[in-house]
Amino acid sequence: MIKLYDVSKTYGKAKEKAVDSLTLEIGSGEIFGFLGPNGAGKSTTIKMITGILIPDSGSIEIDGVNIADDPIAAKSRVGFVPDTHDIYETLKGIEYLRFIGTMYGVPEAVLRENIDKYADLFEMKGALGDMVGSYSHGMKQKLSIIAALIHDPQVWVLDEPLTGLDPQSAYRLKKLMRERADSGNTVFFSSHVIDVVEKVCDRIGIINHGKLVAVDTLDNIRQSDKVSLESLFLTVTGEGE
């Protein structure tokens, strides 16, 4: 479960707020799609949820734990897949995963089992012995995905996870997101690919210029106005007719 209450963030000397009074609640067992044009504030929001950035005002709760009060407990419940691939280049894949596992306090046996399971799923087994620096874009992406799951987090946060993945891996990732949500965890991901969002999500939110402009379940959107998600997106972000 993720709760954001009136969260705002302005970067350094910037004049405009990157995120502006965002209030949002995402329940357990739910896949939430976070949509918005470039520079809308998606990544900024995600960085605040994962504890990378501290909001200027407002509060964020992960599974009932306020990040500001107990950052360690909150962070230990989150698994994060970033949109960049600045993973430690001079580590081997397996060393990176073990490092992450130790940081989250995953017991050795569980760690080995989870690495096995997810590396198999994304066909990364053979590559884990190589340096991360030698990985392709998509391989780094997959490594990030595996690393985010080895401690079995209650909240899984992904920033544009599908860019760079081949169709097969993209399909498996989507399936995995569904599985995790069905077993009671929260999945939160950002994207600008409307098709994907439409297929996977239970609920979506649209952000523009740091403000949340629409939140609803996909069913509601489909039923109410008979509009497509695409036209809704274009309307609320100011591009529509």
Binding site: G12, D70, A73, A74, F80, G105, M131, H151
Partner: protein, 570 residues
């Protein structure tokens, strides 16, 4: 009663259960532990045997003198106490399982009693060994009657009582101290080691004072060993009879064991049991309120919610952070070179210096030899070299200078890990200090060898370099965290004009001035009045200050870590 018993069982068994995650790991660990114990036992067997033999002769010579026996009993208790304080602290007062036990429908006194019992049971094991090695050989040597052996099991049960009381009294303030630092595992560990060493030293001192000093002026042991031993024992007995009555329960117990009539024995025994019971009551009354207070403290601060099932504060975090950091730097050619070049530079400089000053002139004596003749050489040279090396060390250790800039864009990773920022910084400082330590060790060995310094000055220099290095790295790490240079593509390029090496030099300069200020008066006093203790004082004070500096710098760094980490925007 039933609750109490099952609690005792649970707590007692729990400490011997391995915390391994899988059955196979568990077995491996158990086998490992067993092997370790066997090796330990083999190491201690000769000592135990020689002690037993010595005491056998003691028994023989003294003929079962009750005061000697009391002294031996006290020796047993000393050992039990020494090993027991730690056990009492970690088993009873430092309440790790508060959240688990608090939910049980058992009252706190019962839990406390159960914990004391477990501590007692643990002490019984130590007592058993000491009785086996000390009291049993004594009895055999003294040809004491069967009653002694019959009462030995009773003694076994009673001996731990006094150490328990003393242990509880000592453990209470210490536990409070440790609990205060409970959030800092490093300080906690250091504290424990220090406490342990202090207790050990105290024990040694007491044994030394009580027994083995007395006979030293009574002639030569080789002339007449029997008479010599008797002399010592007579004197010892005399002295002991004055002291031992203060350990009254022991006095009664030994009287019971060595008494002459059955009735007397029984009376003494009952009295001893009574006194010990009273002691136990006292322990209980004194420490229960304290236990409650500690429980409250732990439960309050331990209000942290359950994690996602894993223990996030696992022990290996710092080590793993260091290992990963080391791997990354070593494998990156640029960073690797920058970080480890210092390892080579310092020793090379030392060797160069030696060749500059150490080569003989026409007269056949070298500069170093000339200086070494001076009585002040050993006093001044280490300090001067230390100052010089501190400057060099601090300015060149890139690992300690740019620990955060080194992270580059992947800094976000560190920020989303469920690890306190203070710990992350500690790992970085420790890594840099470890590399510097190797460097310093090589340098110090070279200096001692080439420049003819006394080895203990080399050691003192090494200690001081470590404290100063650690402290100044805390400062530079914090400075780098304050305004890191992130987002670079070329590490060398990025380091150009970075102000941190200047800061490090400045810190080193301040350290150097402080070192000189502390050392100079002592050296002057040494030069004026002689006396090695001036130098001892000098090093003790300066290393003490060094440790203080390191501790303060670490605290500042740790205190500011979260704030500055929070401000980094990526």
């Amino acid at each position: 009663m039933k609750k109490y018993l099952s609690l005792v069982k649970l707590l007692f068994v729990q400490q011997y259960k391995s915390r391994a995650s899988s059955e196979r790991d568990g077995r491996k660990r158990r086998v490992g532990t067993a092997v370790l114990y066997v090796i330990l036992a083999l190491c201690f067997l000769p000592i135990a045997l020689s002690v037993a033999v010595a005491i056998y002769y003691m028994g023989k010579v003294s003929g079962g003198d009750p005061y000697i026996c009391m002294f031996l009993t006290l020796m047993c208790q000393g050992l039990v106490f020494m090993f027991g304080v730690h056990a009492i602290m970690s088993n009873v007062f430092i309440v790790k399982d508060a959240d688990k036990l608090l939910y049980l429908p058992v009252r706190a006194p019962v839990i406390f009693l159960a914990k004391l019992t477990v501590a007692y049971l643990n002490e019984l094991i130590t007592t058993f060994v000491t009785v086996l090695v000390i009291l049993l050989p004594f009895g055999i040597g003294a040809h004491i009657g069967a009653a002694y052996y019959l009462l030995l099991p009773v003694a076994l049960l009673l001996i731990p009582m006094l150490p328990m009381l003393l242990g509880a009294l000592v453990a209470m303030p210490l536990s409070a101290l440790i609990a205060r630092f409970a959030k800092n595992s490093v300080i906690k560990t250091v504290l424990r080691i220090v406490i342990y060493a202090l207790l050990m030293a105290l024990y040694m001192y007491i044994v030394y004072r009580l027994g083995f000093l007395t006979g030293s002026e009574n002639g030569n042991i080789l002339d007449n060993p029997e008479a010599y031993a008797e002399d010592i024992l007579r004197e010892l007995t005399e002295q002991l009879s004055k002291v031992m009555v203060y350990f009254h329960p022991n006095y009664l117990l030994v009287r019971a064991m060595t008494g002459d009539t059955f009735v007397r024995r029984m009376l003494y025994l009952l009295a001893s049991i009574g006194e010990n019971a009273a002691l136990l009551g006292l322990v209980f009354a004194v420490s229960l309120p304290f236990y409650r207070a500690m429980l409250g403290m732990t439960a309050d601060s331990g209000g942290r919610r359950r994690m996602s099932g894993y223990n996030v504060h696992s022990k290996g975090t710092v080590a793993e952070l260091m290992r990963t950091d080391l791997r990354r730097t070593v494998r990156d050619s640029q960073m690797g070179f920058q970080s480890f070049a210092g390892l080579v530079i310092m020793p090379v400089i030392v060797v160069l210096l030696y060749f500059m000053m150490g080569l003989a002139d026409e007269g056949g004596t070298s500069f170093i030899e000339l200086m070494r003749v001076s009585p002040l050489y050993q006093a001044i040279a280490p300090t001067v070299i230390l100052i010089y090396m501190t400057m060099l060390n601090n300015g060149t250790n890139v690992l300690g200078l740019y620990p955060i800039s080194r992270e580059n864009r992947s800094i976000f990773m560190l920020k989303c890990l469920p690890v306190p920022f203070g710990k992350i910084l500690l790992a970085k400082v420790l890594l840099a200090t470890a590399v510097m330590a190797i460097n310093s060790l090589i340098t110090c060995v070279l200096i001692v060898a080439l420049f003819g310094l006394k080895w203990y000055f080399g050691l003192a220099m090494l200690c001081q370099m470590l404290t100063l290095g650690f402290g100044s790295m805390c400062i530079t790490t914090l400075a780098d965290l304050k305004c890191p240079r992130l987002g670079w593509d070329n590490f060398n390029q990025n380091l150009k004009n970075a102000k941190n090496s200047w800061l490090a030099m400045l810190v080193a300069l301040v350290c150097a001035v402080a070192l000189a200020a502390v050392s100079a008066p002592c050296i002057v006093l040494y030069a004026l009045f002689g006396g090695w203790y001036w130098l001892l004082i000098m090093w003790l004070v300066s290393i003490g200050l060094g440790i203080g500096f390191a501790a303060v710098a670490y605290r500042i760094m740790k205190g500011k870590a979260a704030y500055h980490f929070g401000k980094i925007e990526v």
